[in-house]
């Protein structure tokens, strides 16, 4: 039964997600490609270990993590801690208190953004986007990146990080509130005037 799931076609369908996962940690396209290649090969060789319970992608990411760990061991950069395996215990679960008043109304809250689409084409916007994303607490940033950059599903992320579903919703809500606010303060509030000048 499990054999049918592990065709080469099914495996290579997972390649883009695995690649993005590897890329975020290895920060090098070629290394990421290699790690994914090795992962898919290892998967094909150990088809019998796949129990089907965890889901194909979760299983493959498990293998990929080993390949990435192998890479760090080989490259002897002992002081370097890959970001996804770093600190899992931090304040990723802080609530949304600063964003709302006690009656549940917005404290400040989202203003209208002028021309967000234009921002996507501006170099300076990406520097700010990156800063805002990196400003999230580590665990929150990790959950956010697994969802929005790597493209894992909520349940896969819960499994990967060991989160309850309720925790996941709180963390993602908080991450989006934080990122939104940061972009508004640093970009959308600032550039309006500049654009009018130009």
């Amino acid at each position: 039964m499990t054999g049918t799931l592990l065709t080469e076609k099914n495996l290579s369908a997972q390649r883009p997600v695995l690649f993005r996962y590897a890329l975020l940690q290895l920060r090098d396209r070629e290394l990421a490609d290699d790690a994914v290649q090795e992962t898919l090969l290892a998967a094909l060789q150990s088809v019998s270990d796949f129990e089907g319970k965890a889901g194909l992608r979760t299983w493959l990411i498990g293998i990929l993590k080993h390949k990435i760990a192998d890479h760090w061991r080989r490259s002897a950069r002992e002081s370097f801690v890959p970001e996804f395996t770093q600190i899992d215990e931090d304040d990723g679960e802080t609530g949304e208190d600063e964003f709302f008043m006690s009656n549940g109304h917005w404290n400040g809250g989202p203003k209208a953004w002028a021309d967000p689409e234009v921002a996507l084409k501006q170099q300076e916007f990406w520097a700010i986007y990156e800063t805002c994303q990196n400003n999230l607490p580590p665990k929150m940033a990790k959950v956010f990146m697994l969802r929005e950059l790597v493209g894992l599903e909520a349940d896969e992320i819960c499994q990967e990080i060991g989160l309850s579903e309720a925790n996941y919703w709180v963390i993602m809500h908080r991450a989006r509130l934080g990122l939104r606010e940061c972009l508004e303060i640093r970009w959308f509030n600032n550039t309006k005037q500049e654009k009018h000048h130009a």
């Binding site: 090098d28 109304h105 989202p110 209208a112 990406w126 993602m172 939104r180």
Partner: protein, 66 residues
């Protein structure tokens, strides 16, 4: 009545799973009269789009850089 806090939480959840009929209905009702929550919805969709662009951009930035 659900608060902006609850509604924005549902809006966020709606990006990661399919909400129930009841939840979708309360979001819809609330958004009709609440500009800030409408902005929140638009902006979180924009953030998703930005994150995708950012990922594509990373792929070219990390091109053979070792």
């Amino acid at each position: 009545m659900r608060s902006c806090r609850d509604i924005s939480a549902l809006v966020s959840q709606g990006l990661d799973k399919k909400l129930s009929w009841r939840e979708r209905f309360s979001v819809w009702m609330h958004l009709m009269m609440c500009t800030r929550c409408r902005n929140f919805q638009k902006q979180t969709q924009f953030i998703r789009k930005a994150a995708r662009h950012y990922t594509d951009d990373l792929q070219s930035r990390f091109n053979n850089r070792s």
